[in-house]
């Protein structure tokens, strides 16, 4: 190894305050532990030392003693090491880095462990002396420590080790134990806080499982308000952003377009998965079919976007039926697997049919949309948008137009879906999800009903695909891989099956949130200069999913709004609504 230290070496001045923070925390926790329990424990340990001390009895005070000592010593040791690091830093940045990291570990780990031991040991000691069972806090600490160990095992290899290209073009491993410590600390603290403030009254953990279903209740007015607010926000966003943030307003509007595309796709898939209860893992195929339909029709026949939009929808619906036929008899897992395969087939065909689709390179130079076929978005000249309205040309105009276009398309999807829910076909979809055999006994042709669900869901996917193609200007098969299907499905599931508002919220969180993550340069202060939040988006994705499934197992909006009322409208608790079984 040469003296040229990597720029990302830990222990740089920028993060130098971190060990101090850890040291301070360790100091405080050690003192707290001593103050709370440790004095008793020490007292007992010393007094018992002369008497009959069997080791089980003595274990708690000894643990407490050791913990307290460790908690007090660790910061001191840490400070010493840091001083050494600072000194060594002058001599060699490598040694300095290593020493700094060592200091961080020496601080974080023993002081944390020591604090935990002293707290637990002291409490056990006190509980033993007062002849009562161990209380809430020690068990909470134990549980949190266990969670922290699990987190350590998880994050250790995931976050702690990172391979990078070394100086001699070889792979070297970059150790990031500091970040591991931070993650583990977050898990420990979070678990402890949950124990202290959320899972009250001594039960260490809330028993997972179905809660008693709540009785149907009147639809909250807030339900309507939130929809109206979201719509108002959607309409106002580009106007607001472009006027007040001319610098990065365009970026926000682009993100808005992306979010709205996923909202539309989520609403389309919601018909198939949320209403009809048919688990479709290959929805992105219809998105791809819509995109390629537009690109090919425009390239070969010179059709405009406004002509291709309905054609793309119709073609996607047609393919939805083609998929529908073979899977009619399948249910549940089998249906999911076949739809997954269908999605992959479409993608692979697009990639390999070189002569038609351009293969992996995809199709380029897809015509951009015009202003409803009347005006072009170009720089000046006859028939341009800017010229006609007497505006200064700006590329933002097209972006804003695309934004309102996808907003309009998404709203059409929403309005049609909401209307269909109140029509017999929509009720039949929901009935199909609830009980297919009962449907057949009532004279409902389940074949046609399923095919309609597939076709209409696919149609909206096709519309969104045509929009995607015209927005991008170029498409390739890799835009339509399984991860896209999974994302759309995750949006539908997290939002709450069958809920329109839920899809919007989930899209904003999942798509907008990830984009936001890219922008959070503030996190670099905490996690180091080499920390790229966007790299963690799948991890965060997963965490969000786990969290939502734990706290809201039926999605964000789990109640179902009935399609028809006799008296006052009430919403149906999600506990009664079935997910369907394919």
């Amino acid at each position: 190894m040469t003296a040229a230290a990597p720029a990302t070496m830990p222990g740089q001045p920028r993060r130098a305050w971190l060990p101090y923070l850890a040291a301070a925390a360790g100091l405080v926790s050690g003192l707290l532990a001593l103050w709370a329990f440790g004095v008793d424990a020490l007292d007992r340990a010393f007094s018992a030392g002369g008497g009959s001390l069997d080791w089980v009895d003595g274990l708690a005070p000894i643990a407490a003693l050791l913990g307290a000592v460790a908690a007090l010593l660790a910061p001191a040791l840490g400070f010493a090491l840091m001083a050494a690091a600072a000194l060594a830093g002058v001599v060699s940045s490598i040694f300095g880095g290593l020493a700094g990291q060592a200091a961080l570990i020496t601080l974080a780990v023993p002081s944390g462990v020591g604090a935990v031991f002293s707290l637990v040991g002291g409490a056990e000691e006190r509980a033993a002396r007062e002849n009562r069972p161990l209380g809430h806090i020690p068990s909470a600490l134990r549980d949190s420590a266990f969670a922290a160990i699990v987190a350590l095992a998880l994050f250790g290899p995931l976050v702690g080790l990172r391979t990078t290209a070394g100086t001699a073009e070889n792979l070297t491993i970059l150790y990031r134990w500091g970040q591991v410590a931070i993650f583990v600390g977050i898990v420990f603290a979070g678990r402890l806080l949950l124990h202290l403030f959320v899972w009250r009254t001594g039960q260490a953990k809330r028993v997972a499982g179905p809660r008693a279903p709540r009785v149907t209740r009147t639809i909250p007015f807030a339900g309507y308000i939130s929809g109206a607010l979201l719509l108002a926000l959607g309409i106002a966003l580009p106007i607001f952003m472009i006027n007040f943030y001319p610098d990065n307003g365009r970026y926000v509007v682009e993100v808005g377009i992306l979010v709205l595309t996923y909202v539309m796709l989520g609403w389309g898939l919601n018909i198939v998965v949320g209403l009809a209860g048919l688990l479709d893992l290959g929805y992105v195929a219809f998105y791809g079919i819509g995109a390629y339909s537009y690109a090919l029709l425009a390239a070969h026949f010179g059709f405009t976007f406004w002509l291709c939009l309905p054609l793309a929808g119709i073609l996607a619906a047609f393919w939805g039926m083609i998929l529908g036929f073979p899977v009619l008899r399948l249910r549940g897992d089998y249906l999911a697997i076949v739809t997954l395969a269908f999605g992959e087939i479409i993608r692979i065909v697009l990639r390999n049919w070189q002569s038609l689709t351009g293969g992996p390179n995809g199709l380029l130079n897809i015509p951009r949309p015009s202003f409803f076929g009347l005006l072009e978005f170009k720089n000046g000249g006859e028939g341009s948008f800017a010229d006609f309205f007497g505006l200064q040309y700006s590329p933002v105009q097209r972006v804003i137009f695309l934004y309102y276009l996808i907003l309009g398309l998404a709203l059409v999807t929403n309005i049609v879906t909401l209307r269909i829910r109140r029509l017999p076909i929509g009720r039949a979809w929901e009935a199909l999800r609830e009980d297919e055999i009962a449907c057949r006994s009532l004279g409902i042709n389940t074949t046609n009903t399923k095919l309609t669900a597939f076709a209409i869901g696919a149609m909206f996917g096709g519309f969104a695909g045509a929009f995607f193609a015209t927005r991008q200007g170029s498409i390739s098969p890799e835009s339509f891989n399984f991860v896209e299907s999974a994302t759309i499905l995750a949006i539908v599931v997290l939002g709450g099956l069958g809920s329109q508002t839920g899809v919007v919220i989930a899209s904003i969180v999942m798509i907008g949130g990830v984009e936001l993550l890219r922008q959070l340069s503030e996190l670099k202060v905490l996690f180091g200069e080499d920390f790229d939040p966007a790299q963690f988006r799948l991890l965060i994705f997963g965490l969000v999913m786990v969290a939502i499934m734990l706290w809201r197992p039926r999605g964000l909006v789990s109640t179902r709004r009935p399609s028809v009322f006799l008296g006052k409208g009430k919403s149906v608790s999600g506990a009664f609504v079935k997910e369907g079984h394919g």
Partner: protein
Amino acid sequence: MSRWQTDPILTIEHLSMRFGGLVAVDDLGFSAGRGDITALIGPNGAGKTTVFNCITGFYKPTSGRIALAHEPSAFERLAAATESGRRIAAGGSLFLLERMPEYEIAQKARVARTFQNIRLFGGMTVLENLMVAQHNRLMVASGFTVGGIFGLSAYRAGNRAAIDKASYWLDRMGLLDRADDAAAELPYGAQRRLEIARAMCIDPILLCLDEPAAGLNPRETGELGDILRMIRDEHALSILLIEHDMQVVMDISDHIVVLDYGRKISDGTALAVRTDPKVIAAYLGVAEEEEAAVIAELEG
């Protein structure tokens, strides 16, 4: 002559249903009279529900004919066609159920059914359950969705009529105040009544009830008898019923068919069946050596 012989609505001839080696229904034949309440009884595993599933199209019978006639004259046509040996063209008011898929049996032949283990749309409201049952009529009213999306008045009128029909049945079943509650939220007895109301919303000619009194308390069982009689008398309907509660069966049935091991062992009025030694033997059992004697005596 009884009504099920002179004026049947449903005739089953030589019906057999095999599942692999198991013969669930074996060469069964019986008729159900127009406007009668016909009960199908028998010990567990006698094949009653299998017969129901064959009638309503959920099973395709291995062999046999199940004919339903909306008009009495249709059976004469059927008899003539059988005599001539030509293939029978179903149509008009004659339906050969063994040839039809289950949704057409409900939609065209207008045979409604309920299930032994209640099958409601639990996450939908009580009213929605009854609206789903009127699917086919509403599909036409909504112009197969296209007209409905654009809010044509025909659909609004059709929707209004469907709600009125649903309200009528909810009122008759004493469920009107629960109309906007989730079906799964109702107590068990109310769910049974809702399932009957839902079946009635398809305007059936023949209503098949699979153990409607199962799990009901004595008061609810009494009410069920009244409801069934009311339905039959006010709505020109025939009812086919599987039931284990002999009180209900004896009280309301005009005609009882007894099955055992997939064969018919007795057929007649409540009084005739109750005193039939074969039925007593099937239900109470007889010692094996006596059984042969009983059968010999009966057949001899």
